[in-house]
C-alpha cells in the first residue's frame, strides 16, 4: 500500500520546512546553544535574543504585548497552568468554575482534578450546533465563580465559539476568562484585547510548528493572579520554571508569524478543498455534517456516516489518515463525548469521522480520499444489509 493520505491536520501538523530551517539553525554548533537565562555571556544573550524575538511573533499573532506570553510545553500545560493556577490563587475568593462539556480533555481533566480538591464546576451543554450561548454562561455565573474556561475552536467539529461575547460578559462580572485557542492560530482571528480574554492557551504543533512547545497568554494589567504549577529556576516571570528550549520557541515564533501572514490564503484554499471533499462524500448518501449550522473553521469536516459501524469504517479507510469520533479501536467502545454532547447517539458518534485538511493538502489527495470513502462506505453498507 502507498503512504496514507494525511487528513488529520487537526490532530497535529507537519512542521513547515521554513520553520524547520529556523530551528535547525539554532541546533547547529554555531547556532544558539546557550541557556537563555545566562545573561552573563554572549552564548546566553544570543539565545535570549531569539527567545524574545519569538515572544514578539507569538504576541503579535494574538494582539498582545510580548510580556504577556509565558512559554510552556504545549496547550495541555497551558490549560493546566491557567485553570489550576487561577483556582489555587483565588480559592479564598470562590471555588466555582464554569466550562462546557465539549472542552478538550486537557481542560476537562484539569477541572476534574480541581473537583477532587473541593472546587465546584458547572459544565454547560452546547446546542446541537455545538455553540455555548453567552446567555448560558451568564446564567451559570454565581457570586463565588472565579473562572470561565471556554475553548475558541472545537478540535472535533471545528465549531467557533463567540468568545468575544463571553469575554465581555466575564469582564463585566469580574470573572476571569480562560480560552483554549489551540486550534485557532492561522484559522480565525484572535485578539485578546478585543475579545477581553484574560488567559489564552496556544500550541505550536497545530500551526506547522514543532511539538513540545506552547504558550499561555496571561493578562498583565491588572494582574490575573496565577499560582505556578511548576517550581524551580523561576523562569518566565516566576510562572513557569524550567530552562527554555530555544529551538522549540524559535520554531513556534516562526510558525505563528507564517500562520498569520498566510492565514487568508490558507483559509480560502482549504475552504474550497473542504467543499470539494464534502460534495464527494455526500454522494454516498445518508451522511450528515456534525454542527453543520454553526460557524466552523475552514479545514475541519466532521461527518456521520449512517448505516456504517465506526471501527470498520476507520479501518476500511486506512489509506486515509483521519480521526474517528470513536475510541472503540482501543477497545473502550467510548463514543466521542463531544458528539454525544451535541445530541448524537453513541452509534452515530462512533460512525463519525473527522477529516481535517491543511497547508500541504492537495486536490489530488482530496479526490483520492473521496474515491476511498465512496468505495468503502458502499462496500460496508453492502456487507451490513446485502
Amino acid at each position: 500500500m502507498s503512504s496514507p493520505i494525511y487528513l488529520d491536520y487537526a490532530a497535529t501538523t507537519p512542521v513547515d520546512p521554513r520553520v524547520a530551517d529556523r530551528m535547525i539553525e539554532c541546533l547547529r554548533p554555531e547556532g544558539a546553544h546557550g541557556n537563555p537565562s545566562s545573561a552573563s555571556h554572549e552564548f546566553g544573550r544570543r539565545a535570549r535574543e531569539l527567545v524574545e524575538k519569538a515572544r514578539v511573533q507569538v504576541a503579535n499573532a494574538i494582539g498582545a504585548k510580548p510580556a504577556t506570553i509565558v512559554w510552556t510545553s504545549g496547550a495541555t500545560e497551558s490549560d493546566n497552568l491557567a485553570i489550576q493556577g487561577v483556582a489555587r490563587f483565588h480559592a479564598d475568593r470562590g471555588r466555582h468554575i464554569v466550562s462546557s462539556k465539549t472542552e478538550h480533555k486537557a481542560v476537562l481533566d484539569a477541572l476534574k482534578q480541581l473537583e477532587r480538591e473541593g472546587f465546584d464546576v458547572t459544565y454547560l451543554r452546547p446546542g446541537v450546533d455545538g455553540i455555548v450561548q453567552p446567555e448560558q454562561v451568564r446564567e451559570a455565573l454565581r457570586p463565588d465563580t472565579i473562572l470561565v474556561s471556554l475553548m475558541h475552536v472545537n478540535n472535533e467539529t471545528g465549531v467557533i465559539q463567540d468568545v468575544g461575547a463571553v469575554g465581555r460578559l466575564c469582564r463585566e462580572r469580574g470573572v476571569l476568562f480562560h480560552c483554549d485557542a489551540a486550534q485557532s492560530i492561522g484559522k480565525v482571528p484572535v485578539d485578546v484585547e478585543a475579545m477581553q480574554i484574560d488567559l489564552l492557551s496556544m500550541t505550536a504543533h497545530k500551526a506547522y510548528g514543532p511539538k513540545g512547545v506552547g504558550a499561555l497568554y496571561v493578562r498583565r494589567t491588572p494582574p490575573v493572579g496565577l499560582r505556578p504549577i511548576l517550581f524551580g529556576g523561576g523562569q518566565e516571570f516566576g510562572l513557569r520554571s524550567g530552562t527554555l528550549p530555544t529551538h522549540q520557541i524559535v520554531g513556534m515564533g516562526a510558525a505563528f508569524e507564517l500562520a498569520i501572514a498566510e492565514k487568508d490564503e490558507d483559509v480560502d484554499r482549504l475552504r474550497s478543498l473542504r467543499e470539494r471533499l464534502w460534495q464527494g462524500i455526500a454522494k454516498v448518501g445518508d451522511v450528515e455534517i456534525n454542527a453543520e449550522s454553526a460557524d466552523r473553521v475552514s479545514n475541519i469536516l466532521n461527518v456521520t456516516f449512517h448505516g456504517v459501524e465506526g471501527e470498520s469504517l476507520q479501518f476500511a479507510l486506512r489509506a486515509v489518515a483521519v480521526s474517528a469520533g470513536a475510541a472503540c479501536s482501543s477497545g473502550s467502545d467510548e463514543a466521542s463525548y463531544v458528539l454525544r454532547a451535541l445530541g448524537r447517539t453513541d452509534q452515530q458518534a462512533q460512525s463519525s469521522l473527522r477529516f481535517s485538511l491543511g497547508r500541504f493538502s492537495t486536490t489530488a489527495e482530496v479526490e483520492t480520499a473521496i474515491a476511498e470513502v465512496q468505495r468503502e462506505v458502499g462496500r460496508l453498507r453492502q456487507i451490513a444489509s446485502g
Partner: protein, 124 residues
Amino acid sequence: MARYSPLVIDHFDRPRNSGRLPAAPDVIEASAGSVAQGTSFHLSARLSGESIMAMQFEAYGCPHCIAAASWTTEHLVGSPIEALARWDWRPVAQALEIPAEKRGRMLILQDAVKCLAEIGLQPP
C-alpha cells in the same frame, strides 16, 4: 487503531459469502443483535437433506465481527445441520485472534448461529 490478525484483515477485505440467500423453501435464516447495540448478524443457509449446502451473512459491526461471520460461513458450508447447534464462539475467536474485549460480540454471532440451528432442526 486496534491490531487485527492477518486472517481478520483477509476476511474483512475479502469477505466470503457476504449477502443474503433469496427466500426459498430450502433456505432458513436467523438474526441476532442490533445496529443500536453496535453489532448485528443475519445468517441465511440453504439446506439439502441434513447438510448445509450454502450459507451467506450480513454483518454490521467491527472488523472482527465481519471477519468472524465470514470465517464461520466458510467453515459451516458442507457441514451437517447439527454442526450449527454445536457451534460456539471459541474456535472462531482462536482462529482470528479476537481480543478478549470483543468476545461479547462473538456471543451475538453465536446467538445467530444457534437460532439458525433451532430453525433448521425443527421438524418439517
